[in-house]
């Protein structure tokens, strides 16, 4: 089998983070190369380098014998490297066939040759066992079918290399079967495929080779036949604990947050308790429904049934303002969109949530707010020349600190941190951990959603693990370790059950 693609010493640095560290990887014609790793292991970054979204700091990509010069999304696509991302890039108002041929329509003169496109689309869909009418509008399709169309679209311009990023995350088992069916067809066609997934059972079902990455480094590559499930999990888990976790267990205070049988769009029967002086870790894979739970109980999203209690009193549905007054606060996952007003100053961003508490009369005393903000800027050592600096200028870590400061000022009782250290360099991380501890000292309860296992293990006192919208396990930090948590997160604790489905 001939090599179609090869990564040579790919390295990519982000401010404070070494995302990829000299990765060497190759892909043969007609093979499925599964890439595994924790969130943040660098899988997606590597693929983004391949697609040309990122330029590597070092190393080169060799495609069909020659290196990809100044790669860009368009170039890589022309070359025949197609990505299938989780978030779909389809135009909802367009028909399936228009989406599939968007940008390279077949034309008769200046008219687009709908008949031909129809036939080809039809053929394509049939070959993938999708029984949809090519003239259907994409917006009328189920999410699963939209995903299939996305794949079909990639195939339409006969791709040489396909990258599946979590393709099955929103597919039903039947559809997954169809997908695998198709993947096998593609193998016969000699298409090389990278396959990123969190469903380990899939590795054995579809994969030829498997590569495990960790902290942006290549751990091992083996034939699937030669590797065992537990080896994989250990491979993924085997991170050395750096001691950047200042966390010391305090005595448990009273129950501050109680989530009872919360049911919603993306999660069901969620029960979570959080106690004062404790960090309650909420672990699981991306898309397991952790953030959704957080958003729902904070009141920015709606939920179907269930209750959220703070200190025993009920938090009204979809009423964030009330939740804030009751002392609940959420530090959202993506701060740029949800946490900050980028066009406003550090001061305005930090003070915003506390305004009502600080100035009950409604009139702002600028000196006071300045003083307050300054104290927290110093406390959190937020790196900004002045509090009038626009947050847009600040680095990711500093921005996160601003968001934290925002809630510290409100003197909230319950803090929900969603991925508190995402995209933050190590130094800043410790700051934020210390900060959490400080909060605990003040008798706050913290719920920490994190995909970083070490963080969860290092910081939490109790750990809930979510998998596909459900809480699948609850541990005391003492009895938890990376492997067990991963097993639950991957849904491997009921291994056989998952496999037969």
């Amino acid at each position: 089998m001939e090599k179609i693609l090869e990564f040579k010493g790919i390295t990519k640095n982000f401010p404070g983070v070494k995302a990829l560290d000299g990765i060497n990887l190759d892909l043969y014609k007609g093979e499925v190369h599964v890439i595994l790793g924790e969130n943040g292991a660098g899988k997606s970054t590597l693929m983004k380098v391949l697609s040309g979204a990122y330029a590597p700091d070092a190393g080169e990509i060799i495609f069909k014998g020659q290196t990809l010069e100044k790669n860009s999304p368009i170039i890589s696509e022309m070359a025949g490297i197609r990505m299938i991302y989780q978030e779909l890039n389809l135009i909802p108002e367009l028909s399936i066939q228009d989406n599939i041929f968007l940008g390279h329509e077949l034309r008769k003169g200046s008219f687009s040759d709908r008949k031909e496109m129809y036939c080809r689309t039809k053929a394509l869909l049939t070959s993938l066992n999708i029984w949809a009418n090519p003239r259907e509008l994409v917006k009328d399709l189920s999410i699963a079918n939209q995903q299939m169309i996305e794949i079909a679209r990639a195939l339409s311009s006969d791709a040489k290399v396909l990258v599946f990023d979590e393709p099955t995350s929103s597919l039903t088992s039947v559809e997954i079967k169809d997908l695998f069916e198709m993947i096998r067809k593609l193998k016969e066609r000699g298409v090389g495929m990278f396959y990123i997934s969190h469903r380990l059972e899939e590795v054995f079902e579809i994969g030829d080779r498997v590569t495990i990455m960790r902290d942006g480094m290549h751990v091992r590559t083996d034939d699937v036949a030669k590797i065992k499930m537990h080896e994989i999990i250990e491979g993924i888990a085997g991170r050395k604990i750096e001691n950047l976790f200042p966390h010391v267990r305090k005595k448990r205070g009273k129950k501050l947050l109680e989530i009872i049988n919360l049911n919603g769009e993306r999660f069901k029967n969620v029960n979570i308790d959080a106690y004062a002086g404790e960090v309650t870790g909420l672990s699981g894979l991306v898309g397991a429904g952790r953030s959704e739970v957080a958003r729902a109980c904070f009141g920015v999203d709606d939920y179907v049934s269930g209750e959220v209690l703070i200190d025993g009193n009920r938090v009204p549905k979809k009423h964030a303002a009330k939740a804030v007054d009751m002392g609940l606060c959420l530090l959202p996952e993506n701060r740029k969109e949800e946490g900050l007003a980028l066009s406003m100053s550090v001061k305005d961003n930090t003070i915003i949530a506390a305004l009502r508490k600080l100035f009950p009369k409604g009139f702002i005393n600028d000196d006071l707010s300045r003083r307050v903000v300054n104290t927290y800027v110093n406390k959190l050592s937020i790196a900004t020349p002045s509090v009038d600096k626009l947050v847009n200028y600040l680095s990711g870590g500093t921005q996160q600190k601003v968001v934290v400061a925002k809630w510290l000022i409100t003197k909230s009782k319950v803090f929900i941190f969603d991925e508190p250290t995402r995209g933050i360099d190590v130094g800043a991380k410790t700051d934020i951990y210390e900060l959490m501890d400080m909060l605990l000292e003040q008798g706050a309860a913290i719920v920490m959603i994190s995909s970083d296992l070490l963080e969860v293990l290092g910081m939490s006192d109790r750990i809930y693990v979510m998998c596909r919208g459900e809480i699948v396990g609850e541990f005391d930090a003492s009895e938890a370790n990376q492997t067990t948590i991963l097993q639950y997160a991957f849904g491997q604790h009921k291994n056989e059950k998952v496999c037969e489905s």
Partner: protein, 351 residues
């Protein structure tokens, strides 16, 4: 070709509801509303708005807006009129109008796409500019010309191609007639719909409106297309200007006043969301018809002008209310679907 999903609530142009309501209510409530003469007049009068509304719809679908249409109408008409006044040939005059209209559209496109000025502002300013140009060229006076052989055609165009007396409503109400202007409008409608349905225009407009970045990654020259769309709108605007010129056999410099708003209203009534990415040319056409049928109906009934205004405003809002109701409904169903999907994932069921 088979439109499998055409009768799905969400995929209908929203104006269809109001359109039906209006036509039924008026049809019943007002005698002569369905009379051939009324309908053919309706088409004739709506022609101008129909023409610009289609252009506006396309612009809106790309996520922009074109408030300069009114100015473009005035300007192009004035230019054509002036050419006729100078004894120019009628073809020359019309060409002149089309060229100037398209040029202004091009300018809009450049300002929006290259200078990155929000289209609302850009065209808002351009409206002032075009209107002033019209005033300058016409010296603020009505432009008229003596009928010469080389411009006699303009006169002819104002007439009917075909007109036949039927019987039932009695006299004037039964004359069914197709005027040249209506014909032009119909042709434009057909061309636009073909262009939108059968060429790349449609898909690209949706793609750009939905997400410029995705469109660019799909290899669409977004800049070119958006500028092109503004030019199209300008072009249609100048056609409308010419129509008004033909109708009045003269040009007042303030000809196009207020037209831009009517066009936006028609387009939006037609379900073209201002944020772009959804809507249809057909919808805009229906929207324009709604507006005009309301006006003509109320005029037939002899309702005072002011009530016509109130009604139009009300219908616009009513239309939007219906739109958003549909939107709520859609979201509900979508949510249900999602829930079902997630459930089926949980218990990897067999459909």
């Amino acid at each position: 070709m088979k439109k499998s999903r055409h009768f799905k609530l969400s995929s209908l142009p929203n104006s269809i509801y109001i359109f039906v309501i209006v036509f039924v209510v008026f049809g019943i409530g007002i005698d002569k509303f369905w009379s051939p003469a009324n309908l053919s007049t309706l088409l004739l009068q709506a022609s101008v708005l129909l023409t610009v509304a289609m252009g506006m719809a396309v612009v809106i679908m790309t996520g922009g807006i074109d408030l300069s249409i009114g100015g473009i109408i005035s300007l192009s008409a004035v230019v054509a009129g002036t050419i006729l006044k100078l004894g120019g040939h009628w073809i020359l005059a019309i060409l002149g109008a089309l060229v100037i209209g398209t040029a202004v559209g091009f300018l809009n496109g450049i300002i929006v796409q290259k200078m990155k000025v929000d289209s609302l502002i850009a065209t808002f300013g351009m409206a002032y500019i075009a209107q002033s140009m019209a005033n300058v060229i016409s010296a603020k006076r009505t432009v008229n010309w003596e009928v010469l052989p080389q411009n006699a055609m303009i006169k002819t165009l104002s007439g009917d191609i075909y007109s036949k007396q039927l019987g039932q409503y009695g006299q004037a109400a039964d004359v069914i007639s197709i005027s040249y202007i209506a014909l032009i409008c119909v042709v434009v409608m057909i061309v636009m719909n073909i262009a939108f349905k059968k060429t790349r225009l449609g898909p690209y407009v949706y793609a750009i409106g939905a997400n410029q970045e995705t469109a660019r990654l799909a290899g669409i020259k977004t800049n070119t297309w958006r500028i092109g769309v503004f030019m199209l709108s300008g072009f249609l605007g100048s056609i409308a200007g010419t129509m008004l010129l033909i109708r009045a056999q003269s040009v007042q410099p303030t000809l196009g006043t207020g037209m831009e708003f009517y066009a936006v209203v028609a387009a939006v009534l037609g379900g073209n969301a201002l944020e772009g990415g959804k809507g249809s040319v057909v919808g805009a056409i229906l929207g324009a018809f709604v507006l005009y049928s309301i006006r003509s109906a109320l005029m037939l009934e002899g309702i005072s002008t002011f009530w016509v205004m109130v009604t139009i405003g009300g219908v616009l809002i009513a239309g939007m209310v219906i739109n958003s109701l549909v939107y709520f409904y859609e979201r509900k169903t979508l949510l249900k679907a999602k829930l079902r999907a997630t459930e089926s994932i949980e218990k990897g069921d067999v459909r």
